[in-house]
Symmetry: C2
Subunit: 695 residues, 2 copies
């Protein structure tokens, strides 16, 4: 090895005590000299003959990545000058490519082709990923088109830098510093998103502040947009529906009032003067106390269309959330969104997307798919997943979410017969939507490693990869992420990938098995199945689990809330009958007797205990597997994860004890062998939870 190489190796070792900041864009030197040389032969120069900012980003990112991986500076030149062994960046109207798609072909030169500049950028990152995962570049031929047009992050970030449901520090956006100071981190945020194909971001909370539409704040938003633009990322804003009153000083925000309409038209013009490629508005209206068109006797379409008309001349879009439920909280909350939106199908403007949460309730550890999917053929339905772990153990519990996302996307709505998956609704292929979108509620924050728990960077990564191509497997994505982020050592990659893949099922087992749910208020992250007081019945725990002397679960059949009727007959058929209803959804749809034998040959009570105990026990297994990869993981990252797993173990037992001790008072049965009864009493668990609600 020559001096330079020694130096670079030392450099990598010495100044890269890994604090996780670099995410999956680490680009550490490839240690295998043969492989490094092979790659180097095909990456002697980068050819870019354009001043397009996005193409320039592509070239710069390639250069940065290659500098790290190969330990040499690869020049960017305007033309190959007959030489071979270079990487050519070019846009051309290739038939097989959609707007943002890319094609990578390798002969004497590697050519990255996109129909648009963004396509080339995604191709550049794809090539880097190819090298980061140590794949062969002989006869390189990769073609990929995104299946969904708008691939977005939603940030529930507030003006005071707090993040609603954020567990990784404060907001990335420093509103008090903008526009004068540009935190270098804004650019790194854009890089990470572009590398996985995310092309839009809503920077403020859906429970929105009016401030963002003031001239003062639009300057700040514009400064962010300028940083994101060269990475092909458009900026969007959540709006406060009554803004025409709060900052426009109008008497009303009625969507049918001409003055209100004009106010939004003027505001849109003002925004696009500052941000010519502004994406549009995200709207939470008449939901959880947020004002909206219904306050004026109008409906969601009236509200959305008013905004859509103001944005249309600028090609902006309106993303209107379907997360609504009756304030009365009497009727089954499950049914609210379907009841309010299905009748409006076909009444929305062309530049409106209705954004639907994956499940009918609220980002629970496991939910059946929302019955809206497949029922609004004339209205583009976007998917809203939650990457941040509101109900998944915050930044403490390890839950790799790709399996959760896939489970929903692959669910069959039967809207157009068998195989009409939710994915086909969202990617537009089922109803031939002209607009398609998918959003993830971000888990990013100001923590140095972005996501708090080092391993849940994988959820941000997985969301982006699935937004681009929902046919990728959870395993393939995990494998990529681990290799690029933690270690390229095959055995450890396998171990950590397995750990990720099983993590969600383990969490569900000790947290909400068999279709239990927990959208309760209070400590929110702590077990409170006994929670029965709230300003609304549907904000208590007992509203959902309905435990009584007979059994457990929410009857949503015809004998119950009849929510099941919102699904296609084929779906109803599977889920209507407790005998055939898949166990993961059992208590979502049925009130099952404690003594009922399940197809596991255990009674409900026995099965519940088995899940709670084995789930909690499995965390110990995850700790052991993590311990086994120590030699291949950066020490700081290793210790960080080990510490969080220890806390998860403690809290998993806490959840187990809370549930079994509480439910036992209804089931009135002993803990079945071989499981030992908890060391603590229900009262003791309650006191433990109370500590976390002390002033």
């Amino acid at each position: 090895m020559n001096f330079k190489l020694i130096f670079l190796l030392l450099l990598t070792t010495l100044c890269r005590a890994d604090d996780g900041y670099r995410l999956w864009l680490k680009y550490d030197l490839i240690k295998d000299a043969t492989k490094r040389a092979a790659y180097a032969r095909s990456a002697q120069f980068i050819v870019l003959n354009s001043t397009n900012p996005v193409l320039k980003t592509a070239a710069d990112e390639l250069q940065t990545g290659l500098q790290g991986l190969l330990g040499k500076t690869v020049p960017i030149v305007a033309n190959a000058g007959g030489k071979t062994g270079g990487i050519l960046l070019t846009t051309s109207p290739v038939a097989e490519l959609t707007n943002e798609g890319y094609r990578i072909t390798g002969k004497q030169n590697i050519t990255i082709t996109g129909k648009t500049d963004a396509g080339v950028l995604y191709g550049a990152f794809a090539l880097l990923r190819h090298l980061q995962t140590r794949q062969s570049i002989d006869r390189l031929s990769l073609t990929s088109n995104p299946k969904i047009q708008l691939r977005m992050l939603n940030h529930w970030d507030n003006v005071d830098a707090s993040i609603e449901r954020g567990y990784a520090g404060q907001s990335l956006w420093k509103w008090y510093e903008l526009p004068e100071r540009i935190d270098p981190r804004y650019r790194d945020y854009a890089r990470a998103n572009a590398s996985i194909g995310i092309n839009g971001t809503v920077v403020n909370n859906v429970n929105a502040s009016s401030r963002f539409l003031t001239a003062e704040y639009l300057q700040k938003v514009a400064a962010l947009a300028n940083v994101f633009r060269p990475y092909g990322i458009k900026i969007y804003l959540s709006i406060y529906f009554p803004a025409p009153k709060t900052i426009g000083k109008l008497k009303t925000a009625d969507p049918l009032d001409p003055e209100v309409n004009q106010w939004w038209v003027d505001k849109a013009n003002e925004i696009y003067k500052l941000i010519p490629d502004f994406g549009g508005f995200l709207v939470k209206a008449n939901s959880e106390g947020q004002p909206g068109p219904q306050d004026y006797g109008r409906n969601h379409a009236d509200g959305a269309n008013m905004l859509a008309k103001a944005l249309a001349p600028h090609n902006g879009i309106v993303i209107w959330r379907a997360f609504v439920y009756k304030a009365d909280g009497i009727s089954d909350r499950f049914k609210a969104a379907y009841d309010e939106f299905k009748p409006l199908d076909g009444q929305f403007e062309k530049n409106v997307i209705v954004q639907v949460k994956n499940g009918p309730i609220d980002f629970q550890p496991r939910e059946p798919f929302s019955p809206i999917f497949g029922t609004m053929p004339q209205t583009p339905l976007g998917m809203e997943f939650q990457i941040t772990q509101e109900y998944l153990g915050h930044a403490t519990h390890l839950v790799y979410e790709a399996p959760l996302f896939k489970e929903c996307l692959e669910s069959d709505t039967y809207a157009g017969g068998r195989g009409s998956t939710v994915a086909k609704v969202v990617d537009g292929s089922l109803h031939n939507y002209k607009l398609t979108a998918i959003a993830g509620v971000a888990n990013t924050g100001s923590d140095r490693n972005w996501t708090g728990h080092p391993l849940t960077q994988a959820n941000w990564y997985a969301f982006g990869r699935l937004a681009w191509d929902h046919t990728l497997t959870s395993q393939a994505i995990a494998n990529e992420w681990v290799t690029m982020t933690l270690t390229p050592e095959p055995q450890s990659v396998k171990t950590v990938t397995d750990l990720l893949l099983k993590s969600r099922e383990i969490y569900v087992n000790y947290n909400t098995p068999l279709g239990l749910s927990r959208p309760w208020t209070g400590a929110h992250f702590a077990p409170e199945p006994w929670q029965n007081r709230s300003s609304r019945p549907d904000w208590t725990a007992v509203y959902y689990h309905r435990a009584d002397s007979i059994g457990l679960g929410f009857d949503r059949t015809v004998k119950g809330s009849q929510a099941l009727a919102q699904y296609r007959p084929e779906v109803q058929k599977q889920w209507n009958n407790p005998e055939t209803c898949p166990l993961p959804y059992l208590l979502w749809f049925h009130h099952v007797p404690w003594t009922q034998k399940l197809n596991t040959d255990r009674t409900l009570w026995e099965e519940l205990c088995t899940r709670f105990y084995t789930g909690a026990e499995s965390v110990g297994g995850m700790q052991n597997e993590w311990a086994s990869v120590k030699k291949d993981i950066d020490p700081e990252t290793f210790a960080n994860v080990a510490g969080r797993l220890a806390t998860q173990q403690k809290e998993a037992i806490w959840w187990r004890d809370a549930w079994v001790l509480y439910l036992q008072e209804f089931a009135r049965q002993p803990i079945p062998a071989p499981f030992k009864k908890p060391d603590r009493t229900l009262q003791e668990v309650k006191e433990l939870v109370d500590i976390y609600q002390l002033r």
Copy 2:
């Protein structure tokens, strides 16, 4: 230069794009080869013959620092074995040294002597500082003893990771992760504090949560204490006075109730089992709505003594805050602390310290010293300074606080005749206190650079240095900090030092000149001199400035609130008469006619305008001076500060306009030449402020 050196130089350049995390402990390689060689000759090895953890820290810190500064690994050995050219660490009962003092002498070997292990640690950091500031080590002879015993940070950090009055991110303490995960940052926090002699830290907000006294949380606190211990730092807790009720389930928290007393005795025993060197309790009671002994008809001494008796067997102390004022808000808030505490002098247990804010109101940009200092000879009075910039422009405005701290410490109370400075009260020399303490409300947070504004790291540093030795000059401290943190280049050191030294006066000029104050609620960081509505009169702006058609200012003479009577006659004599009252305090004590000629030969109105305009203008000057040091400053740091100065410039004009336009309505006079009237109207400024209070 040999290979290793090239390597190290490259290393420093390449992996030290300076994000400010390393504070003043950067230890970058000394570029001057001659100087480096000279230092190296006297630092060939470190001799430590002890397993004492604090001494081990001293040796390790020396090794780390020398590794960076000299670019070589200096071995730690058990004895010199006759060799010379080493650094010897030793404890011995030297007469000239107090417990934590150190002596550094250099002949064939450099010897660092402390009476205690902590003294050696402080000596080690002193030697490093000596090298960092490039001073000669020939005939080295440094002796230093701390003038104050307890040198503490107070963290107003909450259990939810928010920080009351914090502007640099969230709390450093990750309570949900503790005790299982130890963030490496905890240790770096301890290192930074130990390097400036801070030996105690209160980790939670004075508006305290009961949680910290639960078994669950004490485990977490103990884990932090274990990290701090090897750095000679004791941990303290703020307590919630009614804890015996909230977590002890007692019926009362009456300090004279035997059960309550027993509860605290038991709690103290529980704490010391976990944390043998626990420091003690900090208490905010009967202040701003916090409960306290007065709720039971008892006084502050009753409350403090109950706690003191519980802690005494463990050598713990009680720090009882004097920041109290009548809830009625009718009488002059200025007088409250003096009125409540002076009568209690001599009634406190020996292990109680009464902690007094520097000024009588609340950390204003400029206040006269609190009249309590010098009036309680039998009660140790500790100083409470605020490092975080609650009223000093948060993390946006540059205010170097050493001059503010010094101004108070050097004020003469005349308690024992001329020269009875506040410093002599606090360091115990005036009244011969057996306990002495000084606390700074921390400006640290989770921001990568610890303090948000890169240059206000200097305030943390300056507080620590002054806590150790209040006779150091603001300039000497600034000079040290700039050299160690930003650049050792003399010209730039001088420029930035000057910038720091003038910054506070510039801020006062555009923010609260001539003794104006602004402890108002509302946007809190924004100008609101018009603010006249609040739940209490003394929480409005008009309560303080008292602007009317005649003039401006709060009359605290015999004709007014008579607060001046709380000072010694010699002090009253200077301040009673508006003719002789120093201009900086004028409006603190007098209601002055707009047309009154001041000794500047300008009327009050003219002088006010002059201060507001020249103050705002001076920020432009600071921008220019900062621009002039660009070549010597890390690019990221340079841009960061430049951006904040630009925002400060914008906001300084905002403050100027708000004040002059508002006061003009009372003064009814034009803006005097050469100043131009603001471009905006008062209404426009109000609307700008309102934006920052929009939902």
